[in-house]
């Protein structure tokens, strides 16, 4: 049950929103580079939106194809947790009189998908997945299902904001908390596709990652990929290896930071590599097949396999 990626858009610590991930890969930033949101979101709505909602809706709104999708599917691990804290503070600190409901309204995770539906005036399928460090994989599996059921295009993405409470006590050069938002237009048509997603699955780690990668490849009848993009969406006690099964590994979470839906960032990077071989070659990334491995917490793992369409 494969699908094609027709477009992608990412807000991250790189200048990815303007130029994609591959072209921005050399910058070495750890601070989110946010676009001018008002170019994409009606001002009256924008004023009331919390950061994660702005972050979540904008990549989708940038892509013109979003106006014609049959479904909107969002994966988010932390979701609108910050709004929950803000609302709780009000009543825990004993605020008298009426409480303002704004933070409560914005604290349900499905606010992002709901706002996208609202702005895009889309009456179609609308769902939010929240399985923490594999929330994006949950969303992607659903999106692939929907594309094939309805032979349609779908807007799907992963978004998480940085929450100060979530900061690592000891950041290292390759483990630090990041944030970002990556959205994709998926469809069943090969024409003009930038990449193909062959399979997406989450698995409980069976002994070790290498073994689990093998299980994934076998059960989906896939060849060994040429490159592995490997990262952590959350705290993992294990180091990211230099190679798996003799395949070179690129540590993507060292570039975008740890956040629960960062495999979405890796899928955008993989799409750039597959669809722009010339630029990819400059980074020694030439590949027609790429496996994204997300070791969430040393217990659960996400796998997304991309190839040339």
């Amino acid at each position: 049950m494969s699908v094609y990626i027709h477009n992608c858009s990412t807000i991250s610590v790189l200048d990815s929103f303007e130029q994609g991930i591959l072209n921005a890969l050399d910058s070495n930033s750890r601070k989110l580079i946010e676009p001018e949101y008002r170019q994409f979101i009606p001002p009256a709505l924008l004023r009331r939106m919390s950061k994660v909602i702005r972050l979540g809706v904008t990549p989708g709104l940038k892509m013109p194809e979003s106006n014609h999708v049959k479904g909107i599917i969002v994966g988010t691990g932390v979701g609108c947790f910050d709004n929950s804290i803000q609302f709780s503070k009000k009543y825990i600190h004993g605020q008298e009189g009426l409480l303002s409901p704004t933070d409560f309204i914005q604290s349900t995770d499905n606010t992002i998908a709901g706002q996208l539906g609202l702005i895009l005036k889309n009456n179609g399928y609308n769902i939010t997945w929240t399985h923490k460090g594999i929330a994006f994989e949950n969303a992607l599996i659903d999106a692939m299902l929907l594309c094939n059921e309805e032979n349609c295009t779908v807007l799907v993405g992963g978004v998480d904001e940085h929450i100060s409470l979530f900061e690592l006590e000891h950041s290292t050069h390759d483990k630090w908390t990041g944030e970002g938002s990556s959205f994709f237009i998926l469809g069943t048509q090969r024409t003009n596709a930038r990449a193909k997603i062959e399979a997406c699955e989450t698995l409980a780690i069976d002994n070790n990652i290498e073994n689990t990668v093998n299980l994934f490849l076998e059960s989906n009848k896939l060849n060994k990929p040429e490159i592995i993009l490997y990262g952590n969406s959350f705290l993992s006690a294990t180091e990211i290896p230099v190679s798996v099964m003799g395949i070179n590994v690129f540590n993507y979470s060292a570039v975008c930071g740890l956040y629960l839906t960062n495999p979405a960032f890796a899928v955008h990077l993989a799409t750039d590599i597959i669809s722009n071989q010339q630029e990819a070659a400059k980074h020694n990334f030439t590949a027609n097949s790429i496996l994204v491995v997300n070791n969430f917490n040393d217990t659960d793992c996400g796998f997304i396999y991309l190839s040339k369409p």
């Binding site: 979701g79 709901g114 895009l120 009456n123 399985h131 299902l145 059921e149």
Partner: protein, 395 residues
Amino acid sequence: MSIFVTGMGVISAIGNNVEENLKALLNSKGGINPLTSINRMRKPFIGGQVKLSNNYLLNTFSISDAKTPHRSTLLGLKAAREAWGNRTELNGIRTGIIYGTTIGSIDIDDELLEVLVNSSEKEQKVSYAKIHEPNFGTDFIAKHAGIKNNRFTISTACSTAANSIMTGARMIKAGKLDRVLVGGAECITNYTLNGFDALMLYSNEPCTPFDNQRKGLNLGEGSGFLVLENEKSVSACGSEKLMRLTGWANTCDAYHITASSPEGAGAKLAIEKSLQMASIKPEEIHYINAHGTGTPNNDSSEYAAMHAVFGDDIPDFNSTKSFTGHTLAAAGSIEAIYTILAMQHNAVFPTLNTKVQMEEAKQKPVLELKHKKINKALSNSFGFGGNCTALVFEK
């Protein structure tokens, strides 16, 4: 391909298992009462509380996990165990779980939240890790049911569990799974009480769904779980077929982030699409378990949607939230189970407390227990964010 419901488990304010819930529904015994044993409520609230304490549940299940599960997870486990029974892992039967709860999928515990808000930065980090576990309930219940892979966590506010059921069915239909445990759970917290109160949607009288003088909703707590299986799994596991799930649809109202459109556009579309999928005509539906929260906005919007699909002759409909309160993320699965019970026992349960017909309506919900044959039924679930889901069950 047929998708069968082969297991059900429920816990709510009106009973701790399917049998007790059925008895209360047949005897018009509602569960909305003044809330007790919730610390630091800003003011008195009424709602639908489950009678069992956390300690009782912990002891019943001999839970000694390092991390004590929150109340919603415990309620979820109770219902999941009833639904799942003694099923075990089976070679060749691909099994999964889809579960959800609300509030940004955070299993917010009032006590922890208070610690979090009042503590120092460092202490906060510890509490944060304990609180913020959207997947905790899913993984916890999966572990107890022996489900290793295909674990999914969903969050679409008040339609969460309906979407769990729908996604489970879709995965079976697509051939990705043979058997799936689907549901949702919710406990009453200060967070949700204050939230709906701030929105001025909370009524401090028992809710009166579809009544002209309705004042709002009451929260409830509980959990509902269903087991869905394909034919292959039914034969391999020797399961009993309780009902078929034949139609489902998920749509977005795209009107307002919390309010429903006056004409119920999203709801109408969800109902139409689910009937279409089941290939049945509106007049074939014998009973509708409405979302019916008792808020002025939901009930008029939902009525408009039903009227748009069914015309002046809307099938017998009720809102069982008048028994349980609005159980948010659990509502979709608890009410799907009530729909199936209504079909099994050929009985439309009453809508409690409702008296006066809505001004714009041409009929009231069913107010007294009504016995009739129900072969095909519809269950509606709507939520914040414009989420609308409809499910069709058939004998």
